[in-house]
């Protein structure tokens, strides 16, 4: 089911293919690792360490340290919440998409985000937490979602900037997670990354089209890039020196690269792609550093990031209010479906 990417070739962009190659490589590595033998380990903890050491996957019923379990539940759940809340900024433009084609694409993309949320909730559930608990944690604000979705989508060009920058940053973050040591998470990420690639390309295409349109359209595209650039950089989290969960996560092979390494990779990617778009990144300090073989760039405002995470971003309250409302509005559907299923079961039993 993971094989084949039906949309490859439909949206051709100068980049993106190498990310898909990395996903394919991660998938191959997952198969290769399964063929490897794990070192001896009589004690359960020793066996866990040996599995991690051999780059094999931990599976749901394997013994695992309690912190591995709870840390993964937190990470996967927050990732799932982000996908669910992430539907809102784009849903804002479905009814105002400029053409039927763009509308169909945007609908498919938002539906994908819902799907990604569900894959991830299912992966989290394999760790022994149930869905309703996770939903409550989000609705009660006790678990977070990505700060990026607390920024507003002010113009159609924002659909392009979100696809190119936000989904692009998400992919750079997520491709290494395809190699994560927890099997269900790694497998969900492989599926997600393959789908994300369409998201990024459709965004790039929107910006590319606008950048070649009228002056006003080009200005709209540039404005969207200007507003989304730094919040996208902040998606990689606090700088390495202040990252709280990193060391243990790296030792357990949940996390493979540091926040700053991934951020740098993203900057290098975008610097090249913005040239192709004919748009500029809003950073006067952005320049190639031949010694490092990377671009120098201005760091995002980490105080702003902390503020938005704490709840004081431009749209935090609105996003949470919408989610709670949607959840309440759907209550009768959930109840009706459960009642119908119970009635049907009763009828089947009475016919036996």
């Amino acid at each position: 089911m993971l094989g084949g990417c039906n949309i490859c070739g439909v949206y051709g962009t100068p980049d993106g293919s190498d990310l898909l190659d990395q996903v394919a490589a991660a998938e191959q590595a997952l198969r290769d690792a399964s063929a490897r033998t794990v070192g001896p380990g009589d004690e359960r903890a020793e066996y866990f360490d040996a599995v991690i050491e051999a780059d094999q996957k931990i599976e749901p019923r394997d013994w695992m340290p309690e912190k591995y379990r709870s840390g993964l539940i937190r990470q996967i759940a927050q990732h799932a919440h982000s996908e669910i809340i992430g539907m809102q900024p784009e849903a804002n433009w479905i009814s105002r998409a400029p053409s039927l084609k763009r509308k169909a694409i945007l609908l498919a993309k938002v539906q994908d985000e819902a799907g990604h949320g569900l894959y991830l909730y299912a992966a989290a559930e394999t760790l022994g937490v149930d869905r309703s608990t996770l939903v409550d944690l989000l609705l009660e604000g006790r678990q977070k979602y990505s700060s990026i979705f607390n920024y507003p989508t002010l113009s159609w060009a924002d659909m392009g900037a979100i696809g190119w920058l936000v989904d692009g940053a998400a992919i750079v973050n997520q491709v290494p997670l395809c190699r994560c040591s927890y099997g269900p998470y790694a497998r969900a990420m492989i599926r997600i990354c393959k789908e994300e690639s369409f998201h990024q390309r459709q965004g790039f295409e929107i910006l590319h089209t606008l950048a070649r349109g009228t002056e006003a359209q080009k200005a709209m595209a540039q404005d969207a890039v200007d507003r989304w650039w730094y919040p996208s950089l902040a998606m990689f989290g606090p700088p390495d020196a202040h990252s709280t969960h990193s060391a243990q996560s790296t030792a357990w092979k949940i996390k493979r690269f540091s926040n700053d390494d991934l951020r740098q990779q993203f900057v290098d990617m975008c610097a090249q792609q913005s040239g192709v778009l004919g748009l500029t990144l809003p950073d006067p300090a952005l320049r190639w550093n031949p010694e490092r073989g990377s671009y120098d760039y201005t760091r995002p405002d980490y105080d702003e990031l902390a503020r938005v995470i704490r709840g004081d971003g431009p749209c935090n309250r609105q996003r949470m209010a919408n989610r709670r409302q949607a959840h309440e509005d759907g209550a009768w559907v959930r109840e009706a479906a459960a009642a119908h299923a119970a009635k049907k079961r009763g009828r089947e039993l009475s016919h036996v």
Binding site: L118, R131, V135
Partner: protein, 94 residues
């Protein structure tokens, strides 16, 4: 929320001729909706030609902790593999 909606495991046959493979899980009130939800969730890009949904509670799994004792009996029966046998030169089609 999906309280009261049981968990279903989803298996998908990617193409005719291949076996069903575990794809993931989902919540649904009954088998019919589980099947529809599975179609929407796991085959948005034509990833399958057939879907099974199984109530998660109906699956009995072997325990990873017992795996040595459980699978050991097969470990010392190398004679079950054709490579165990010496075939003299010249014996064709064997």
């Amino acid at each position: 929320m999906s309280e009261g909606w049981p968990l279903w495991e989803v298996f998908i046959r990617a193409r005719r001729g291949l076996s069903h493979t575990h794809a993931g899980s989902l919540h649904a009130p009954d088998a019919e909706l589980a099947l529809r939800n599975a179609r929407d969730l796991y085959t948005r890009r034509q990833e399958g030609v057939s879907i099974w949904v199984v109530p998660a509670t109906a699956i009995t799994a072997s325990s990873p902790d017992e795996k040595d004792a459980f699978f050991d009996p097969a470990a010392d029966k190398v004679y079950r593999h054709p490579t165990f046998y010496q075939v003299p030169d010249g014996a064709a089609h064997l």
